[in-house]
């Protein structure tokens, strides 16, 4: 009896498996086009996932919306414009260059430039400040004596 019960419990997941809602277009070409477009769009519910990979309900609805719009003959750009008009630039994984995204796009280059200028200035300063020092003959001799010490004398 106990074993039978255990067996039943083990089988429970198989019974509870529910058929998944249809989330595919009949036309594979259209489906591919949709996935390609959706890969560059953000799912707003789980923000680090793309619309193509997210399993959230909203993403599912939006995929359907994209399919419907493609069936209506809208171009990819028109569909993107539609989604941006509803959800803002935030749906794009690739943010457009605008006045308030300038820092985002060119900030790293500005930082690199600042770094380079700083480096050049620093190197120039060092060149002027510290002329190469020359060792006197006596110092040379001491240095070579230290360097050429036989190994066993160190121990």
């Amino acid at each position: 009896m106990k074993y039978l019960l255990m067996l039943l419990i083990c089988l429970l997941p198989t019974f509870s498996y529910a058929g998944q809602a249809k989330d595919l277009a009949d036309d594979p070409v259209l489906e591919q086009r949709m996935v390609k477009l959706a890969e560059n769009l953000r799912c707003l519910v789980c923000q680090n996932e793309s619309l193509a990979s997210s399993r959230s309900d909203l993403a599912k609805d939006l995929r359907q919306e994209v399919r419907d719009k493609m069936n209506q003959g809208m171009t990819d750009q028109q569909i993107i414009d539609f989604l941006v008009s509803k959800y803002g630039d935030f749906v794009l994984f690739d943010p457009p260059v605008k006045s308030y995204t300038l820092l985002l796009w060119y900030g790293p280059f500005a930082l690199l430039l600042i770094g380079l200028v700083g480096l050049v200035l620093q190197m120039r300063k060092r060149k002027n400040a510290a002329p190469e020092s020359q060792l006197s003959a006596e110092e040379m001799q001491r240095a070579s004596a230290l360097l050429n010490q036989p190994k066993d004398s160190q121990t």
Binding site: L44, Q47, L58, D61, E65, S85, K86, Y87, G88
Partner: protein, 174 residues
Amino acid sequence: MMRFWPFVVFVVLAIFLYVGLSLNPHEVPSPLIGKPAPAFNLPQLHDPTKQFSSQDMKGKVWLLNVWASWCVSCREEHPLLLALSRRNIVPIYGLDYKDTQVEGERWLRNGGDPYTLVITDADGRVGIDYGVYGVPETYVIDKQGIIRYKAIGAITHENLQTKILPLIAELQAK
């Protein structure tokens, strides 16, 4: 002087990161603010044979509150909406988003009904038109049918007092 530069850079970075920590990434500014509210014609929850059109609201300031019986945060803001409806300042229209009639009606029976009227958006199409992505969402729509404000997530007492109510008063005075 040169020695302080790393410290200055550190402080600037720390400020940026600190501000970044306190921002809510789910509060995405809606591009719909200042734009006409998308028109819809949807069945009413309590009587699906009757339709309600957003055009009927021309000339009135109104709130559109997107909710659902499956939505957890909706419970959080529900007492606020009930209190607001009792004050009779502004009509609150509910959009029951991706829900069933049975569940939606039961939810309102149990929790109280703050809405002037509830309409249903079973397949979420109108939700997409309104850029809904995190229920509950609340829109303030003015007399010309322009969206003036959008609250994403449960509205708070503070939000209501400092933003929504003053805005409604201002829009109604126009």
